[in-house]
């Protein structure tokens, strides 16, 4: 007689537990690393096709702070924040070869955001959004050098992400 009454909260409890079970850390690492590697390789291919002179240094790290350069990784939140910024930057580049990198980055961002939700991390609003928009507005017309700079910094960030995959465990 009391069986259904007892069963119901049990099922609810089980469901809540299931919902709260995070993705296994190693599985997330295994998902993120190949995606980051793919993005790195695509960027290298893209920048090699430009055949820019190897003597060129486009954009010192202290220049164009709107595009993250050498930004420290301090957990999942900072990773998502940086990847979101890069996603916005790539959206301003012309259609074509960068489109694939943009799609790859979008997928990676989706994984990371899902991870944040499952870990109940707070999703921050990106800072300096207006400044970034203005920067994109004024520089996107020079799409080759702008794209080169952005992709170069994205490649560096992906390399740093691969080394710091343990930061995916924390918000």
């Amino acid at each position: 007689m009391y069986f259904p009454v007892l069963l119901y909260p049990c099922i609810l409890g089980m469901l809540s537990l299931v919902h709260g079970i995070p993705i296994h850390q190693d599985s997330l690492k295994n998902l993120v690393k190949p995606q980051a590697d793919t993005i790195i390789l695509r960027i290298k291919d893209h920048n090699e096709k430009l055949k820019l002179s190897p003597k060129l240094l486009i954009g010192d790290p202290e220049l164009y702070p709107e595009v993250p350069a050498d930004k420290p990784i301090q957990g999942l939140g900072s990773i998502v924040d940086t990847v979101t910024t890069f996603q916005k930057v790539l959206q301003r580049l012309p259609k074509g070869h960068v489109s694939q990198i943009r799609n790859d980055l979008f997928t990676l961002l989706g994984y990371l955001k899902d991870r944040m939700i499952s870990m109940r991390c707070t999703l921050k609003e990106p800072a300096n959004e207006r400044s970034l928009d203005a920067f994109l507005e004024s520089n996107a017309t020079h799409h080759i050098t702008f794209g080169y700079l952005a992709l170069d910094r994205l490649e560096q960030f992906m390399q740093k992400l691969i080394v710091n995959l343990d930061h995916l465990k924390s918000c």
Binding site: R130, S138, I144
Partner: protein, 1051 residues
């Protein structure tokens, strides 16, 4: 209530007045509202009984200045019927609301019983909308009209009725533009002059803006609280100085309208000053010079260190730079080809160049070659994919235009179709290099070209005219069927794609699925029919077949290969026999499992072509369990786990028509096996192993025997599987011996398994032993042959030595050498102490010839006028020494020498030639000097003395002398004495002469007399004979055999 109709004529006037709305006819604009005071004089009211009049009495209204209400209150005639009118905007240009309120209603409403009736009529006056709103009320009326988000002029008419009399207001107009703040300026941007001045510009939001004053404020992004504000009057630009480079500034502008409304601040404009290009975009034509300036806002960057890059790849030569001032650099370039190029001005930083994102863009008008190639597909939706080349820097868009005529005619009339509409690749502008156009007409002609984005349509590629039908890559053929027939034929048929409808040709390739040697695809084609019959080398073989197609006549592309199809082997009946097989049993200690691998002999393919085996059926039956079976392909191995229980396996052949009926089975038993073999022996020779065995007499005869061994030539490291190395052969039960002929190492272990119907008997093992001494015999033969060869070599060497030196005289036998001890003679000087030197008779020599010279001394007594008897002409050559017969000429005694050269002996090379020399001693011995005309190897060889009638020398090669000659040459150089040498030329041109000489010699030989001449003039003339003699001992002629000896009488 009265309806007021706005007459069309009135409307026109009002629309014209729309452009001058600011005067606010009848009212004033204040605080974003329009205000007016309307006072009306109404006649006395008439009773309803006086309704004989057609028109009601009409009063008069007058607009007063709404800002001076006291004036209206002082008007005695109108004060009783005045209205306050107020209009304002609701929302963002959504609605205009006007409110009319009677003064009476406010002041003495309670005193009057009759209230005025107000009717407010509003009309929007504009081209786009013409609608009206009408409202009525007592004492107060509020009316709203929609503006649809646009500015408009609204006409306002009010009628007031009181006691049956009515008064109409004069025309009032409200301009909504003046009821709101002006829009903030837009299009904020900045320009930089070639002097480095930054001029900030903006535009008014409305084309007819009445803005008269502006304010600009700017701050660095990090200090937005500290604004710098600049006021500007009457112009929309300002020069901003004191800006720093590398800092992101935010700038905002606001404007003030003529009615003193200030706009909000504009959208912020962010900018960073780093490098500015003047101009930033250039349009030019091929071959024209273009000059671009770059302003370095960064004071640490100097124009003298500017580096200009073309397209980020090529550094422009510095000769094309100009330093305008410390911060401004200019470059002049000429672009020859139409297209898009970029210029970047960077700053030298060590070996590298620091650059920023910005670059100048050069659009060179004209047409460039983009190498557009297209490939179309004709299927449910006709598509065409085009690819092209372009500069990595250029964004392009692909445009195309469709024609319904042939491409040839279109290209001729190019340029006359400007009215046609261009279509664009769906992917739009970008850095694409390909585009797929859909829903094409296969039979149309398409003109396709690229346009560089930003090039205003003036920078484009050469167009290509493409008829998709000519570039179709068809779909691959389908419904492929292939059959391997018993008559060794592969029959293949397929279905062509329905579209395109033109005739097709086909190409077929196939590969056998069995046998490692036939893994190469064989190609058959072109085929004109959708079927093929291919002759095979064998039947019963399955093949993987693929087909492709393309247009038969005309251009087009090959389709992709079709889906692979494996041929069906034609059979009339099921196989008769199952294959023979054996097993390998392997224990897996880790998993504690015993695996049995069946080693199956492949069926004979060329057996019955009508009952080919396509696969196997393995049937199992374990003790106490049901029977089960597995189907496999024609595999060589088949493994299954064995539980060490009685397990019977039957292997059957199968094809589509059934399985074999005569099959072999095997029973695996774990229990002790019976012993039936008495003896088993194996004897091996080089190529075969002879196996023999005998059985115990009191046992039943097995069904067959299996002999098993491991193939030692297979490396167990590489062939990990034991089953790969296991070899076996089945022997009939009646046989008691077997001869296996193949390559054996001699150490194989053979195992004999008697096989009974109910299982295997106890196996017997033996190792093959070598039964023949073949290897030892071979070794002995080799040793014997080696000895024989060695002895032969020794003998031949002695023989050669004899042949070479048998005629060389012993110098100890020479008369002039009497009493000399050659072992004590160290140098030539000791041998030839005379200062006069020696006369030399150059020797005859032909390169690589063995020359034998016989010198026969005449029998009559001779007198040698040797100054010293112990002078011996010894020639050294290397470590050999011989005596030249020619040196016998040194004997001052006139000699008659018979010189003969041996004919080319077999020992001489084929290139050797034979030269005869006849040497005669001079009759003037007093003039002769002994001279080491050549140093031949002596090697204790004989030099025949004067009594010896024969003197011979033999040379086996020129090389033998070369060493000595080299040494001699060095010696000659050291002495610095030049010598006249006479060469016996050996080239072919003179061979005839040589032959003539030989003939002469021979003729002279017949006379047994020869005159040997020596030209000693070279030695005698102008030279001290002593010096010559002393030098001659060191001066050894090169390649002595090349000298021709010619003894002459001195002059």
């Amino acid at each position: 209530i009265r309806y007021i109709v706005v007459m069309p004529k009135l409307k026109i006037i009002e629309i014209i007045e729309l452009f001058y709305p600011s005067d606010g006819r009848g009212g004033v604009y204040e605080d974003l509202k329009w205000k007016a005071l309307l006072c009306c004089e109404l006649p006395f009211a008439q009773t309803l009984d006086d309704g004989l009049s057609e028109h009601p009495p009409v009063g008069q209204c007058q607009l007063l200045n709404a800002t001076k209400p006291e004036f209206s209150s002082k008007s005695p005639t109108l004060s009783g019927n005045c209205l306050d009118i107020l209009c304002w905007l609701e929302g963002e240009r959504t609605n205009l609301i006007c409110n009319a309120k009677s003064h009476r209603a406010a002041a003495a409403a309670s005193l009057l019983t009759v209230r005025p009736q107000l009717v407010v009529q509003m009309n929007v006056l504009s081209d786009e909308a013409n609608h009206a709103a009408q409202c009525a009320g007592e004492d107060t009326a509020m009316c709203s009209i929609s503006l649809h988000g646009n500015d408009a002029t609204v006409s306002l008419n009010i009628s007031i009725s009181l006691n049956g009399s009515t008064a109409l207001s004069p025309k009032m107009q409200v301009s909504t533009h003046n009821l709101r703040r002006p829009e903030p300026p837009i299009n904020l941007h900045y320009d930089v002059t070639t002097e480095g001045e930054v001029i900030f510009r903006w535009s008014d939001a409305q084309p007819n803006s009445d803005a008269i004053n502006y304010e600009i404020r700017y701050a660095s992004n990090s200090s937005l609280q500290q604004w710098e504000v600049v006021k500007v009057k009457g112009r929309s630009w300002v020069s901003l100085n004191e800006l720093s480079s590398g800092i992101r500034y935010m700038v905002q502008v606001c404007c003030q309208s003529h009615i003193n409304y200030w706009s909000e601040w504009s959208q912020p404009f962010y900018f960073t000053l780093d490098v500015s290009y003047i101009p930033a975009e250039i349009f030019t034509t091929p071959g024209s010079e273009v000059t671009v300036y770059a302003v370095f806002h960064n004071r640490s960057w100097s124009a003298s260190k500017a580096v200009w890059m073309l397209n980020g790849q090529v550094k422009i030569p510095e000769s094309q730079y100009r330093v305008i001032d410390e911060q401004v650099s200019a470059v002049t370039v000429t672009v020859d080809e139409p297209g898009f190029d970029t210029l970047m001005c960077c700053h030298q930083w060590g070996e590298r160049f620091k650059c920023i994102i910005a670059y100048a863009k050069i659009y060179t008008e004209g047409m460039f070659n983009a190498d557009i190639t297209c490939q179309s597909k004709n299927s449910e939706v006709d598509t065409m994919s085009c690819e092209w080349n372009k500069s990595a820097w250029a964004q392009v868009r692909l445009l195309y235009r469709q024609y319904t005529s042939m491409c040839e005619t279109i290209s001729e009339m190019a340029g006359s179709e400007e009215a046609e509409e261009n279509m664009e690749c769906p992917s739009g502008a970008g850095d694409h290099r390909e585009c797929t156009l859909k829903n094409l007409s296969l039979f149309s002609c398409y003109k396709i070209w690229l346009e560089v984005e930003g090039g205003r349509g003036k920078v484009r590629s050469f167009p290509v005219y493409v008829a998709p039908i000519d570039y179709v890559k068809p779909s691959p053929p389908s419904v492929l069927e292939a059959t391997t027939l018993p008559n060794k034929t592969l029959s293949v048929s397929w279905r062509r794609p329905h579209l395109p409808v033109y005739d097709m040709q086909y190409e077929l390739h196939f590969v056998a699925l069995r046998g490692m040697a036939n893994t190469q695809w064989k190609v058959i084609g072109p085929l004109l029919e959708p079927q093929a019959e291919i002759q095979l080398e064998e039947s019963c073989v399955q093949f993987k077949v693929e087909v492709r197609c393309r247009r038969l006549n005309g251009s087009g592309y090959w389709s992709d290969w079709s889906m692979s199809y494996t041929s069906v082997v034609y059979n009339r009946k099921a196989p008769e026999m199952g294959p023979d097989f054996w097993r390998a049993i392997q224990e897996d200690p880790v998993r504690s499992v015993t695996n049995v691998t069946l080693i199956i002999k492949q069926p004979v393919l060329a057996g019955d072509p009508y009952s080919c085996v396509e696969g196997l059926v393995i049937e199992h039956q374990a003790s106490g369990r049901a029977m089960w079976s597995n189907e496999t392909t024609l595999a060589q191995f088949y493994s299954f786990p064995w539980r060490k229980e009685a397990h019977t396996v039957t292997v059957m052949s199968r094809n589509a028509l059934g399985i074999s009926t005569r099959n072999r089975n095997m029973t695996l038993l774990h229990q002790p096996k019976r012993r039936c073999v008495r003896s088993f022996s194996a004897v091996a020779n080089s190529s075969c192993v002879y196996l023999s065995w005998s059985l115990l007499s009191d046992h039943s005869v097995p069904q067959s025997f299996v002999i098993e061994w491991l193939d030692l030539k297979k490396d167990p490291e590489q062939d990990m599987s034991l089953t790969e190395r296991l070899q076996w052969v089945r022997v009939q039960s009646a046989s008691r011996d077997l001869s296996l002929c193949r390559r054996f190492y001699g150490s194989e272990e053979f195992t004999l398994y008697p096989v009974f119907v109910d299982g295997e008997g106890e196996p017997v093992r033996c190792t093959a032993t070598r039964g023949d001494p073949a290897a030892y015999i071979l070794l002995l033969i080799i040793a014997f042959l080696s000895v024989v060869l060695f002895v032969t070599l020794l003998m031949s060497q002695n023989q050669m030595r004899k042949l070479m030196w048998k005629d060389v005289p012993n110098p100890n036998n020479c008369s002039w050498a009497k009493g000399m001890d050659f072992r004590q003679i160290d140098t030539i000087e000791n041998l030839f102490p005379h200062s006069e030197g020696l006369t030399a008779c150059p020797l005859l020599l032909v390169s690589e010839s063995i020359c034998e010279v016989e010198i026969i001394e005449k029998t009559h007594p001779v007198t040698l006028e040797l100054e010293k008897d112990n002078e011996v002409p010894i020639y050294k050559s290397g470590d050999k020494t011989t005596t030249d017969s020619a040196l016998l000429a040194d004997s001052s005694e006139p000699l008659s020498l018979e010189a003969s050269t041996a004919a080319a002996t077999p020992e001489t090379s084929g290139q050797s030639s034979v030269t005869y020399s006849t040497v005669l001693l001079s009759h003037q011995p007093s003039l002769l000097r002994k001279q080491p005309g050549g140093l031949w190897d002596l090697e204790n060889h004989v030099c025949s003395d004067s009594a010896n009638p024969r003197h011979s020398s033999s040379y086996n090669s020129v090389e033998e002398f070369s060493e000595t000659s080299d040494q001699d040459y060095e010696a000659s150089e050291s002495t610095g004495v030049a010598k006249d040498l006479y060469y016996l030329e050996v080239n072919e041109e003179e061979e005839e002469e040589d032959e003539e000489e030989i003939e002469e010699t021979q003729s002279e030989q017949e006379n047994n007399e020869m005159v040997m001449k020596e030209d000693t003039r070279a030695l005698l003339e102008g030279k001290n004979s002593t010096a010559v003699a002393s030098n001659v001992s060191h001066s050894i002629p090169l390649y002595l055999p090349q000298f021709r000896t010619e003894c002459i009488n001195p002059p």
